[in-house]
Subunit: 328 residues, 2 copies
């Protein structure tokens, strides 16, 4: 006996229409409508997530939804853009279940409220392969104020938000490493949560466009992403590794196993903001970041030249020439 499956329209009406924003027109039309603010530019980004590449099959459906939206909102934030909405493309494997989809939609709805980024539209298809999601996020910035990667200037200070390396360490926990034995359950939970649940810094968008000379989000590892941004700007960087902010859990792990510092600096999934700031703007930038509850750390400075960024670690100089994580 075959199980009766709901139609695509039925799925949309039941799971997605309740979490959709106003411009989605109830998800009943061919397309969504977005009235953009006068004198604003749009910022658009898309990121795809594939099971076993970007998340694990055992991850909770709501966590997967939150990550898919979060990584896109993180891109918008890095550009100084306020979220305006998103579209979801979902390729479901044959064995999808309604309970999975219900949890997924609930998590997506919660994330969209937390990130102030309403669902505008989507497409759901079946595919004989791993679960694959693609989110296109749309943001808005005052005209001409998008923050680019290409505009870092020598002598700008280099800042990151939050803490670095937690997600990469959190992912490593799955293999049961020795260093994890010295961590408390809370510390392990913190690291695991940072891998599962990106915390996009959308509340920093306004401060970034007012004060940063260049920015990107750290998704493929601090060292590699910094190298990308510096190369795009035609400059170099000097980083004091001991100023790279680590959480208590990450610091303890690195103390137990010093090699993990490399993982923290090169591992992916931080979804923090890396930015360069002219020194004269630093105090105001810090104040605005404080106001929205985001911690900033100054980790180094932009320098002239085209060399790979230098990390000073315990008096030695290190260049990470591996680049950032590559999907191919």
């Amino acid at each position: 006996m075959s199980v009766q499956r709901p139609s695509e329209d039925g799925l949309i009406a039941r799971f997605f229409a309740p979490i959709a924003g106003e411009g989605a027109l109830g998800l009943k039309d061919d397309a969504a409508r977005l009235t953009s603010k006068p004198d604003h530019d749009l910022v658009l980004t898309v990121d795809a997530l594939v099971e076993r590449v970007h998340f694990l099959p055992e991850d909770a459906p709501g966590s997967i939804a939150r990550k898919a939206l979060g990584v896109n909102v993180s891109d918008l934030a890095a550009k100084g853009a306020d979220p305006a909405g998103f579209l979801l493309s979902l390729a479901l494997p044959d064995d999808w279940t309604e309970s999975w989809l219900a949890e997924f939609a609930e998590g997506l709805g919660k994330a969209s409220r937390d990130f102030a980024c309403p669902l505008l539209g989507g497409d759901t298809v079946k595919a004989k392969g791993p679960l694959t999601l693609s989110v296109t996020a749309v943001g808005q910035v005052p005209a001409g104020r998008m923050v680019l990667r290409t505009t870092a200037k020598p002598d700008d200070v280099i800042c990151v938000t939050g803490t670095i390396g937690d997600a990469a360490l959190g992912l490593k926990l799955h293999s049961g490493p020795d260093w994890a034995e010295g961590l408390s359950p809370e510390e392990r939970a913190h690291l695991a949560d940072r891998y599962l649940h990106p915390r996009p810094r959308h509340r920093l968008a306004a401060a970034l466009r007012s004060h940063a000379s260049a920015a990107m989000d750290v998704s493929d590892g601090l060292a590699g992403d910094l190298a990308k941004m510096m190369r795009a700007s035609g400059v170099g960087a000097l980083i004091e590794a001991d100023r790279v902010p680590l959480s208590g859990a990450a610091a303890k792990a690195v103390q137990a196993s010093p090699d993990l510092l490399d993982l923290a600096l090169t591992g992916g999934d931080d979804y923090e903001i890396l930015c360069t700031v002219p020194e004269k703007n630093l105090d105001s930038f810090r104040k605005e970041a404080d106001t929205v509850g985001i911690t900033l750390s100054v980790i180094g400075r932009v320098v002239s030249g085209h060399d790979l960024p230098v990390f000073r670690i315990n008096g030695l100089e290190r260049r990470y020439d591996v680049g950032s994580y590559q999907h191919f």
Copy 2:
């Protein structure tokens, strides 16, 4: 020996950056920038295509690219929106090749020029599954002028562009049906081409927003899509089946095998525009459609009530209660 694969950044620089539009920032940043026209709304749509569901593995890479973009531009056109750009999310199977990707990108570039819809951004990932593409297209309409599905009114005339049923017949050709034997090679090629290469009616967008009361594109079959639009508008419809425009090839096929009329009326992938037009606008609408080289056919009329649309076929009345094609 493992074969050296290019990095994602390498792929983007080589294949996609050359076909990208200005707002793509060379595909080197986290996001694209789109300066929207003053006093315009944005229209956003996303459609995913999966190998063996929406296209065949043997289809040319350039055709797949053209279809992925075309079906989205078709959605924009139906809403009266002029294309502004698109983002591509591409999940490549393990066995992708550079020559496949080169042809894909070339076809995508050509389609984006033909449809006046530049590439703004994208994401490329690997997935152990069928090739899956997702395109998000962005269009613009003068503020408040998006053409909806929900606003058809009793007594409006119902029009479709071009011809109906070609693509569904073209797909059937793969199974070598008897009726195909009476067709010339050119007629078979015409039908096959209509399946492979949607012809989005983006040039009709301005005429639609000036004259149509409601519109959608015909992607899941005329009968089902008409039923959807009428239901969304709270009205019914009376269609004269012999006024539904068929190509010479389709007419010949239907003559050889009269049952194929049902396939033509219910099969998918037409990517024509179905719209309702107040009678007083019809002449002007026709004239504008002529100007951009698009054929319009009046196929029936909107009626009051909530019944399924009625198709008059050879003096009989037929209701297609199967609805349109469902992916689930």
